[in-house]
C-alpha cells in the first residue's frame, strides 16, 4: 500500500496527450517533458514520485505507443485509476509494472486528494475526504507479473526457471 496525491483528468485522455507524436523519435528523457502539455503544462513539471493519475472513461485511447504509460511512470506516477481504459494502454501499463486499476467512482476524487491504494484488494482510501472507493482488483493471472515489476523481469525469471 502506498499514499500519493491525485492528479485528476476527464474522459478520453488519449495517448497523443501523454506522448505527443512530434517527440517520439527523441530520447525518452526528452519525450517525458511533453507529457500532458497540450492540456496541462504544469503536470510534467510538478508531479512527484508516488503521485496517482486519475481519469474518467477510456484512459489511454488511441495509439499503441508505450511511451504514454512509460512517461507517467518515469515522472513518478505510482498508480493509474480510471473508469475504463483503452485496451492497449491497459496492457502496456501493467506490462511496465504500473498498476492500472478500474475504478467506477473516480469522479469522487479531487485534484490533490491524498489516496491510499491497495491494488490486490481493490481498495482506494481517499484520506482527504475520508471516503473508501472500490476498484476492480488486479487480474489474478497478472498479479505475479506485476509483483515481479512487469513483463520483462517476469519473463526473465520464467525463462531462467526453464533453464533457457
Amino acid at each position: 500500500m502506498a499514499e500519493g496525491r491525485a492528479w485528476v483528468y476527464g474522459d478520453d485522455v488519449d495517448t497523443d496527450l501523454m506522448a505527443p507524436s512530434a517527440y517520439l523519435m527523441k530520447p525518452a528523457d526528452q519525450v517525458v517533458r511533453h507529457c500532458m502539455e497540450a492540456v496541462d503544462p504544469a503536470f510534467a513539471k510538478s508531479v512527484i514520485p508516488g503521485d496517482v493519475f486519475v481519469a474518467g472513461k477510456n484512459l489511454g485511447v488511441g495509439s499503441s505507443r508505450e511511451q504514454a504509460p512509460q512517461n507517467l511512470q518515469a515522472l513518478g506516477i505510482r498508480y493509474v485509476l480510471a473508469k475504463s481504459f483503452g485496451r492497449i494502454f491497459y496492457r502496456n501499463a501493467l506490462n511496465l509494472g504500473l498498476p492500472a486499476l478500474v475504478c467506477e467512482n473516480t469522479d469522487r476524487i479531487n485534484k490533490g486528494d491524498e489516496l491510499k491504494i491497495d491494488p490486490v484488494a481493490g481498495r482506494v482510501e481517499n484520506l482527504s475526504t475520508g471516503e473508501t472507493l472500490e476498484c476492480e482488483p488486479l487480474p489474478a493471472h497478472l498479479v505475479e507479473m506485476i509483483n515481479d515489476g512487469g513483463l520483462i523481469p517476469h519473463l526473465k525469471k520464467k525463462l531462467a526457471r526453464k533453464g533457457v
Binding site: 497540450a38 499503441s64 505507443r65
Partner: protein
C-alpha cells in the same frame, strides 16, 4: 457448412514452418456443438484447444508478429537483452519502416540505421524499408492468409481483419514477450456484429460508415470486444474499402475488427503473392453475438468528425463552410488506391482553392505506382496536389503535412486528437477521400455529393 483447411507454406526459408490455418480443430466428428464466431475459431486454433468462450483467458501461438520503426528494433533491442532471450522465429517476424521515414533529422536517421542493422543481424527476411505504411504493406507483401492469428506493434493492426485474419495491436513490451516466446495471452473477446445494410449512395465511402459508428457508440463503445462487419454494403465494398472499417475499429476501442474472407479477398491476396488456397473461417449462422448493430447505408450522409475526436462525427452539413488551410489524403486509413481514385474523380479538370494546400501521401509505393500508371496521380497533380512520399507523416503530425499553429485541416486519416496532426492549437477534421478532395476545391468543408 464446409470448413476448409488452408495450408500456407512459409516463404523465404528452407525451414518447414507451414501453418495449418482455419477451423480444422472445429471440424469433423469432434466439432463442438456450440456455434462460434470467426474470432473465437481463430483464437481456439491458435491456442491449440477445441473451442473458447468469451471472457476466457488463453495463451495463443502467434503466426506472425509485425512491427514498425517506432515500436520495433529501436525499442526491442534493450528489452530482449533484459529478458535474456533471442527472437523465437525470425521467419515469423515482419518489419516495415513507416513512422520516421524520408528521414532528414539525425534522430530519424539513427532509428532507420538501427532498424536495418537489427533485421540483418537477426535474419529477418520479411523486411520492407520505405515501401509504405505497415498496415497496407503487410497484405501487399503477401504475408497474410485468412485465418491467421497475428500481433502488431501498432494500434491500427486490426486492419488485417479485412483479410479474415485476427490481428491485435500491442505495445512494445508485449511485443518483446512475443518475440521472446512466440506466444501471447488474450482474453477471448465478445463479438459485436455490425450489419451494414442497403447500398452506399454515390459520394459516400466506408469512411462515412465507420465515422457514423464512432459517433453512435463512442470511442470505447466496443472496448475489449471484437467487431465483425457484414451485410450487403460490406459485401459490395472493395477490399481497400473494407480495410477502412477494420482499421478504424481501433477508434471504437475494439480489440480487433474482422470481415469474413470472400472471393474478392482471395483474389486481392493472390495478386499480392500470398499462398492462399481456401477461404478461412466464417461465423456460424447461430453464433452468439453480444450485440448486433445495424447501419442503413441507403440513408447515410457523408460524415465529418470535428476536433478533437472521431466520435464527434456528424453529417457534413453540420460542419459545412469551415474554412481550411489543408486537405490531406494520407495514412493507412485513407490513401489506398480507391481513396486516390475517389479524390481524383472529384478534382478532375478542376483546381484546388487558393490558400488551401492539397497534400496527398499514397499509403504505399505500390499504390503510388498503380495510381501513376492509370493517370490518377497526374489528375491529382493537375488539380494542384502536392504528392509526398509514403509514410505515416501528416496523420501523426510529422513531415511537410504537419498542421501549423491555429491551422485548420481536413484529413482522410483516422484520428483527430488534440495536437496529433500538428500544433496543439491546430484543428483537425476527418472525412472520406471524397469529402477531403471536394473541400480542397472549395477551400472549406463541403458536401462531396455536389462534386461527384
Amino acid at each position: 457448412m464446409t470448413y476448409e483447411i488452408i495450408r500456407s507454406s512459409g516463404c523465404h526459408t528452407s525451414r518447414d514452418h507451414s501453418l495449418i490455418i482455419g477451423t480444422s480443430k472445429l471440424t469433423g466428428s469432434k466439432r463442438s456443438p456450440v456455434p462460434h464466431t470467426i474470432c473465437e475459431k481463430i483464437i481456439a486454433r491458435a491456442a491449440g484447444v477445441e473451442s473458447v468462450r468469451p471472457g476466457e483467458i488463453v495463451t495463443c501461438k502467434v503466426d506472425l508478429a509485425m512491427m514498425h520503426d517506432s515500436s520495433g528494433p529501436r525499442r526491442q533491442i534493450e528489452k530482449l537483452e533484459a529478458v535474456g532471450a533471442d527472437v523465437w522465429d525470425p521467419d515469423k517476424v515482419v518489419v516495415i519502416t513507416d513512422h520516421f521515414v524520408h528521414e532528414t533529422d539525425p534522430d530519424s536517421i539513427r532509428i532507420q540505421d538501427i532498424t536495418r542493422d537489427w533485421v540483418a543481424a537477426k535474419g529477418v527476411k520479411r523486411y520492407h524499408e520505405k515501401e509504405g505504411i505497415c498496415h497496407v504493406v503487410l497484405p501487399e507483401g503477401g504475408h497474410l492468409v485468412p485465418g491467421m492469428f497475428l500481433v502488431g506493434g501498432d494500434s491500427h493492426s486490426p486492419t488485417a481483419g479485412a483479410f479474415g485474419c485476427f490481428m491485435i495491436g500491442i505495445g512494445t513490451t508485449d511485443l518483446t514477450g512475443v518475440l521472446a516466446t512466440g506466444e501471447i495471452w488474450v482474453r477471448v473477446p465478445h463479438t459485436i456484429r455490425v450489419e451494414v445494410t442497403g447500398a452506399l449512395p454515390r459520394g459516400l465511402a466506408a469512411k462515412d460508415v465507420i465515422l457514423s459508428l464512432c459517433h453512435r457508440i463512442g470511442l470505447n463503445g466496443a472496448n475489449y470486444k471484437a467487431v465483425e462487419f457484414a451485410g450487403s454494403a460490406v459485401k459490395a465494398m472493395s477490399v481497400d474499402e473494407r480495410m477502412v472499417l477494420t482499421n478504424m475499429s481501433a477508434e471504437i476501442g475494439a480489440k480487433t475488427g474482422i470481415i469474413a474472407a470472400d472471393s474478392k479477398t482471395l483474389d486481392w491476396l493472390r495478386e499480392a503473392g500470398a499462398p492462399v488456397n481456401g477461404t478461412g473461417s466464417m461465423s456460424d449462422p447461430d453464433a452468439a453475438f453480444e450485440q448486433i448493430i445495424e447501419i442503413d447505408a441507403n440513408v447515410l450522409a457523408p460524415q465529418v468528425a470535428a476536433p478533437h475526436s472521431p466520435a464527434n462525427s456528424r453529417p457534413v452539413d453540420e460542419n459545412a463552410g469551415v474554412k481550411i488551410q489543408q486537405a490531406y489524403i494520407g495514412a493507412c486509413t485513407g490513401a489506398k488506391l480507391d481513396d486516390l481514385r475517389m479524390a481524383a474523380g472529384i478534382v478532375k479538370g478542376k483546381k484546388v482553392a487558393q490558400g488551401t494546400r492539397f497534400v496527398v501521401a499514397p499509403a504505399s509505393n505500390r499504390v503510388r505506382d498503380r495510381a501513376a500508371k492509370e493517370g490518377t496521380i497526374a489528375t491529382l497533380v493537375d488539380a494542384g496536389a502536392m504528392i509526398l512520399p509514403s509514410g505515416c507523416g501528416g496523420c501523426i503530425g510529422l513531415g511537410p503535412a504537419r498542421l501549423g499553429e491555429n491551422e485548420v485541416g481536413i484529413s482522410s486519416s483516422s484520428r483527430n486528437f488534440r495536437g496529433r496532426m500538428g500544433a496543439k492549437s491546430s484543428q483537425g477534421y476527418l472525412g472520406s477521400a471524397y469529402t477531403v478532395a471536394a473541400s480542397a476545391l472549395a477551400g472549406c468543408i463541403v458536401d462531396p455529393r455536389e462534386y461527384v
